[in-house]
Each structure stands twice: as C-alpha cells, then as structure tokens.
C-alpha cells in the first residue's frame, strides 16, 4: 500500500455513512423537521392574540407551551438520530396532539377553531400526521392517524350548527386524511429506492469480488502448472529451458496482475495474425509431439485483447496435454472457415482423454479457456473419450449467438 492511499478502515466508514438507505432516512427526517419548524414559525405570531382572547389564559398558554415543547423534543430527537420519529415517539406525539384537541374544547373559541392560527390545533395536527413517516407498519400508522382524526372530529363537532358547516369541517378532516397518508407513501418510496440502491451496490461489489477472484485465478493458473512442471520435471535441459521461458512469460502475467497493468507478452500492440499466434504458442511446446496446421488461418487478424486471451487459452490447453494426456500426437489446427466468417482453432490429442460427463473442468479449462473466451465471443466445445483422445474446438463467429452457460456450449458429440 502506498502513502497516498487512505487506510482501509476509513473507506469502510465512508461507505457506511454514504449508504443510500441512510441518505433516504435523512431526507425523510429533514421533511419531518421542516414541517414541524414551519408550523411552529407560522403559529408563533398568533400567540399574543390567542392569549389575549382566551377565557382561560393559563390553560391556553399551557397548550401552546405543550405544542412548542413537543415540537422541540421531536425536532431534537429527529436531528440527533437523523431519522423520522420511531414508534414510541410517534405514539407520544399523537397522544399529546389528541390532548391538545381536547384541551382546545376549552381554550379555543368555536369561531377560531378553523381558518385561524389562534386555533393552531388543525395545522399542528397536520404536521404531526406527516411525522408518522417513520412508522413503517401500515396498520399502526393508520391507527395513529385515525386516533388523530377522531380527536379532530371531537374538537370540531361543536362548530357544526347546520348543514352549511359540514363542508368546512369535512374539508379540514380530509386535509388531514389526505396529506398524512400521502407523505407516508412518499417516504416509503424514498426509503425503498434507498434500500434498492444499497442492494444494487452490494450486488455490484459481490460481482466485482467474483471478477477479481477470477482474474487472480487467470493470473496464477498457468504459472502454477509451470511451477509444478519445474519442480517435478525430469526431462532434459532442453525441456527445462523451454519451461523456464514459459515460466518467465507467466511471471510477467502475474506481475501485471499485481500492478494492475496489461501483461507484457512481448507481442506487437497491433492486430495479430492468427497463424503466427498459433505457431508462436506451439513454439513454447516443442517438447510435445505437436503438429501445427495453420495455413488456412494466414491473414486472419485478431485484436490484441482477444489475441492475449487466445494465447492464454491455448497455453493452458497445451499445458494440460503436457501434464495429463500422455499423447503420441497433438495437432494444433487453425483456419478461417470456407465461408470466411470468423475462425476456428482446434487442439486435438490422442492421449488418455477423460469423461466429459463426469469429470469437472479444472480452473484452466473453465476460467482460462471457456469463460475467458466466452466473454470475447468465442465458444468452446470439448469432446473427449477415455482412451481415445480429446478435441477442444474454439470457434469465433463475427456475430456470436448469446453465449449460453458452460454446459450448453461444451457438449459431447453423440456416439
């Protein structure tokens, strides 16, 4: 780790604070605080009038004080916890508001109960209803809202003297019954978006980890096989020096992985001729009874990235042959098909073979060959019969069909 990089612990802390769920909860909390403070700011100018016109000024002052204190408590707790009021606080909040409605029967003159800030209870109850956003159980939130509505009905009932008063009362009730649930639903959407964003981030992180592990396997697989050959190798000095040369190339690949750069393959940067590529790979395996048939691949150009992948894949296949096949003859054939579309590379050996139905592919065949090439649009077909030999066919078509999973494109031919 270099000095510029922050320690890992800081990264984790930053990640936690910036989780989308937390951000969504903060947004909801901010809405609650905003509604409560705005309501209180609108109420305060009417306080002197309310006290002045009250028949019971002390009781009236007490209701205002209670509303103000409750606002301070709720705003304080919400700001401290950075989330909307939890169930306990919400229940207390509703209880206080119900009490304020009931007290209003004595402290607010009937004519001031709607359309004025002297009768602050109606507006205050709306911001309390909005504060229910933190109670995410629908039945509980609804019960609390209905309790509030019932208290409002009691508070407003004495102001209904004839039918013409009904619309005004109903309008106030509906404001409460509409705004409360609307805010509750909106908060639900925001919180769900936050949670889904976190899940998506988690999925992306998991996929990145899986990709990292795959890259690590790619980087070290061939190297591991070569190290084993170097350790166990009993052949002549010729074989030894060939394996050493390959080991050097694999060492470059591993170092490139560690430094996060593209491996230095010693190849030119431009497009690579398929026949040249196949012949160069075969040159590293001169200890195998290997015949290269690549005339029909002359002139097929591969982009450097695909060329790297194909080089690794062929290297891995031939290391497999060297380690396991005990073959008398290996043929590496490459061609541009007669229709001129894409290319096909075939590796055949007449060695011991294996049962593709029961033998799981090793890291080399699965990751270095099948998966890596599938990502580049190359399909892999493995055909092997114990005692007869193995054929691996790598096919690149210009417009590849959607790549199915391994079991689909590594089928055995029917006997």
């Amino acid at each position: 780790m270099t000095a510029q990089e922050p320690p890992l612990g800081d990264n984790v802390a930053v990640q936690r604070e910036t989780s989308s769920t937390a951000a969504a909860q903060q947004l909801v909390a901010l809405c609650v605080v905003g509604a409560r403070v705005a309501t209180m700011v609108q109420m305060l100018p009417s306080l002197p009038t309310a006290i002045g016109r009250a028949e019971r000024p002390i009781l009236t002052a007490a209701t205002w004080a209670l509303a103000g204190s409750m606002t301070l408590v709720v705003v304080g707790l919400v700001l401290a916890r950075r989330r909307a009021p939890s169930l306990g606080l919400a229940v207390g909040d509703i209880a206080v508001t119900v009490a304020l409605f009931l007290a209003g029967l004595w402290t607010v003159p009937e004519e001031d109960r709607t359309g004025t800030w002297v009768g602050f209870q109606l507006a205050y109850s709306i911001c309390v209803a909005c504060s229910l956003m933190g109670v995410r159980r629908r039945s509980v939130a609804l019960t609390l809202l209905l309790a509030l509505t019932a208290a409002e009905v009691v508070y407003l009932a004495p102001t209904v003297h004839d039918l013409s008063d009904v619309p005004r009362v109903l309008g106030n009730l509906l404001t409460l019954l509409a705004l409360g649930p609307l805010m509750w639903l909106a908060a639900g959407v925001v919180l769900r978006i936050g949670a889904e964003a976190d899940e998506a981030k988690e999925l992306a992180a998991r996929m990145a980890r899986a990709e990292e592990e795959r890259r690590a396997r790619l980087a070290i697989h061939n190297g591991t096989a070569l190290l084993r050959l170097l350790v166990e190798e009993t052949g002549g000095s010729d074989t030894h020096s060939r394996i050493r040369t390959q080991a050097e190339a694999e060492l470059n690949r591993m170092r490139a992985y560690l430094t996060g750069t593209r491996p230095d393959t010693g190849e030119p940067d431009g497009p690579v001729d398929l026949a040249d590529l196949v012949e160069r790979v075969a040159g590293d395996f001169a200890d195998l009874p290997l015949t290269v048939v690549a005339d029909l691949a002359r002139g097929v150009r591969l982009e450097p990235g695909l060329a790297d992948d194909l080089r690794s894949a062929l290297g891995s296949l031939l290391i497999n042959v060297r380690q396991h096949a005990r073959a008398d003859r290996v043929v590496l054939h490459a061609e541009e098909p007669a229709d001129g579309a894409g290319w096909v590379v075939t590796v055949h050996d007449d060695g011991v073979g294996f049962d593709t139905g029961t033998t799981a592919y090793g890291v080399g065949l699965r990751d270095l060959v099948v998966d890596q090439l599938a990502a580049a649009g190359v399909t892999t077909r493995v055909d092997s019969v114990p005692g007869v030999g193995t054929t691996v066919e790598l096919t690149c078509r210009p417009d590849p069909a959607p790549t199915p999973d391994v079991s689909d494109h590594t089928t055995r031919s029917q006997p």
Partner: protein, 218 residues
Amino acid sequence: MTARFALVDDATALRESLATLLPDLTFVSTHRSSEELLAARPEADVVILDLHLVNHQQPQVTQGTAAIRRVVEAGYRVCVYTQEERRFVLAACVAAGATGVVSKASSLTEAEAAFRAVADGELAVPPAVTGLIEVLVRRGSITVLSPRQREVLAGRARGLTYAELSRSLYVSESTLRGYWKELTSTVSDYLQETSPGDIERALGLGPGDLIDVWPATR
C-alpha cells in the same frame, strides 16, 4: 490375402529389428538400397522405404523422391519411413508416387496402422501433409471432393482418428475409410501431375520454394 512387406533402410539395426518389432506384419526381405531391392525383386506388395539412403558405405545410391519413383515404377506401393519432418518434403514424397509417409518418431502402433493402410491402397500421411491437401482443396486446386470427403479431410487434418470422426459424423469407420480412399486417389493424381510452380502458387509459396524438394513432373 496377407500383405507382404519389404524394407529398404541403410540402418542395419532397423533392418534387423523392424520385423521383430512388428510381428503381425509379414516381411519378405530387407535391403540397404533401392538398387538392391530392384535387383532382388522380392515378391512384396509394399516397400517401406527410408528417404535418406546415402552414407559413406554407399555414397552413390539413389535416394529421396528419385528412389520413390523408381520403386513405384517397378510396381510396388511405397510407404516412406523417415525422420524427415519438413512437410513440403513429405508432400513431395506423395507427389513422387508414395502412398504413405510415416515418421520414424511415430509409435509402433501408429506405424503398423499406416503400413497396413498403404497395403490397402490408402493414403497414409501425417496431419501436416493433410493440412496442405486441405489448403489445396480450399483454394480450388483440387476440386472433385464431395461434402463427405471434405468433412473427412477436415477431420484428418485436425488429427482426428476414424473412430473419433465416426462419432461426430454418425458414419461407420469403414465408410469413412472409403471416403478417404476416394479422396486420396484424386489427391495423389493431382500431386503427381501438377508442376511444382502450380503447387507453389496454390499454396501461396514463393516461386522456387519447392524446386529443391519436389520431383520433376512426369
């Protein structure tokens, strides 16, 4: 009828041992040179012929494609048995009339199978040479092949055995051998009758690339 084999090789050890190593084959005679063989005229169907026969004991003997041609003209089928690996040299052996080309590096099983195939009139060549034939077919120099023959050719050029091919083509091994036999007589005729210059062009080689290895056109 059991095929009879004669061996021409300048290596004494090989002359003395091959019959022992391949006890299922009937060897009627062994010779140090093609001249010795042609003088003796053994009653053999196939002559297994080494490509390089000149050594300090017999500096003047005929070897290479010239020897192949002489032995073929004497009425024998020839299977070249050699350490030579260069594919154009091996293809030149077929152009000179050889029915088979087998590497001395091959396993005994493989060599025996190739000798028997030659006795049966079947072209037996390594994948490197089959690959050249595939190029000649693909470039239109050799034209008569049926789709089945092309499939067998493609499989053989990839090193597949008849057993493996029969699994993927759903055809019996003997049928596949039939396709191969039809195909190889066309190929042999083409190689024997076409000038080195034409073959160079067909294979995309430079002018004169084959001149040192190829036999003169009949």
